[in-house]
């Protein structure tokens, strides 16, 4: 292909991408051509189309509060996921819950915070388990939890997002990768109507595509805002890095809409 034909083809592909996207083959071709042509900025036509879109678009609608809350939760989860993948940097103690601001500077608090939360959670965990020990409905998860505690499995703290259902909520998870079982203990989460929605736990496995977390089970929250949930994932979880609780239709989802109410990383 001549240089002129190269250039013409690059323009075609850049215009097509800006207007209707490219197939995988066309994307690969464009990247190769751009590399050959030493084009540094690949975005010129996309920016041009974006500017025209802004010019042609009607006035902005206001984003609904519920959508904003979902986006904020997604940013929290993305931040926590990145933090879980970043090397630990123990320099200072920061805020006690994840914020949307990403990157290494916000990862620093996680080590110390996790240790403090683990200690506090162990006390809370033991107290609540003792209180629940006479309730036959919680026997199975309690037994699992007690067994895990006896084995020295440390609780993992989950923090609430900005979702209105979770403003007072917190949770701990005991997870044993060897036996592939665990238990989730929830406090202060809004009661759900099981005919309309249920809560669902998701486990993000570092060895899997982060877009497809493992289903950790569906559960309901009672009037007192508490739930004790056994965790028995349907597939092996090789390296759990993050746990999240979402709101789903009754019976749960295979692919979540990710309305996240609780999220926490495994130290």
């Amino acid at each position: 292909m001549t240089n002129a034909r190269h250039h013409e083809r690059i323009l075609e592909l850049q215009c097509d991408r800006a207007l209707e996207g490219l197939s995988a083959d066309d994307s690969a071709e464009m990247l190769a051509l751009l590399q050959d042509a030493r084009v540094r900025n690949h975005d010129a036509f996309d920016l041009c189309a974006a500017a025209l879109d802004l010019a042609l678009s009607p006035a902005c609608e206001e984003m609904p509060a519920s959508v904003r809350a979902r986006c904020a939760a997604a940013l929290d989860a993305a931040c926590a996921l990145e933090a879980s993948a970043a090397p630990p940097v123990l320099a200072s103690i920061g805020p006690a819950r994840p914020t949307a601001a990403p990157r290494a500077s916000n990862v620093r608090w996680l080590g110390f915070a996790a240790a403090a939360i683990a200690l506090a959670s162990a006390c809370v965990w033991a107290t609540i388990l003792w209180q629940r020990s006479t309730d036959p409905r919680t026997r199975s998860p309690r037994e699992v939890a007690m067994e895990l505690q006896r084995q020295g499995v440390a609780p993992i703290a989950l923090d609430h997002t900005e979702d209105p259902l979770a403003t007072q909520a917190s949770a701990e998870i005991l997870w044993d990768p060897t036996s592939q079982q665990g238990c989730l203990l929830v406090h202060g989460l809004e009661r759900n109507d099981p005919t309309k929605t249920q809560y669902q736990l998701w486990i993000f496995d570092k060895t899997r595509d982060e877009r497809f977390p493992v289903d950790g089970g569906v559960f309901d929250v009672a009037d007192n805002g508490e739930a004790v949930v056994p965790i028995r994932p349907p597939v092996p979880v090789r390296d759990a890095s993050l746990f999240a609780v979402t709101v789903e239709p009754p019976g749960g989802s295979v692919v979540s809409d990710r309305r996240i109410v609780l999220v926490g990383k495994r130290g």
């Binding site: 323009l11 010129a44 996309d46 500017a51 879109d53």
Partner: protein
Amino acid sequence: MHALELQRPILERVAAGEPGAAKECLDRFGGLVWSLARRLCRNATEAEDAVQEIFVDLWKSAPRFDASIASETTFVAMIARRRLIDRTRRRARRPVEATLTEATPVSAAPTDTPPVSEEAALAANAFEQLRPEQKRVLSLAIRNGQSHEQIASTTGLPLGTVKTHARRGLIKLRQILADQGFDFGEAHDRVAADERSGDGATDGTKDRVS
């Protein structure tokens, strides 16, 4: 330039990991992204999913933002459009909303709606300098999110002609913007050469891909 953009750009602060910057970005651009998604998605549920993906994308893409190339608003719109186009391609259907007909006038923007960035204002002006057929095809592609095939079906034009109008229109638009100081980081000398070699094509005979 927008007064707010004289401050340190939010995206730079997001990229630097400044606490609260990501949610400030959500507050500032939520309406813009939501409007784009509502226009280009089939329903509100799909728009909600798309907006969530876009803001995570934006968070990841923030380090690529360069204030010397484009405004934050245009950059955000670009990221949002890419995600929306990807989603549309994935579901193998195109959103068809308020399809323009022959009788529908193509205007740059509603008269009571001020452009949201300087580039958008210039783009509106540049758009008016395009040929009518280029304006029509670009409007259907950008404002209505139609594919080239859908535009061909809507307008009755051959597919190759639609592609030619779309490409030459966008190239011309970029050239006009570049002439006014917005080249989005890329020299436009070759574009000018291309334009001299055949801006007036009105059918698909010059279009290899057609």
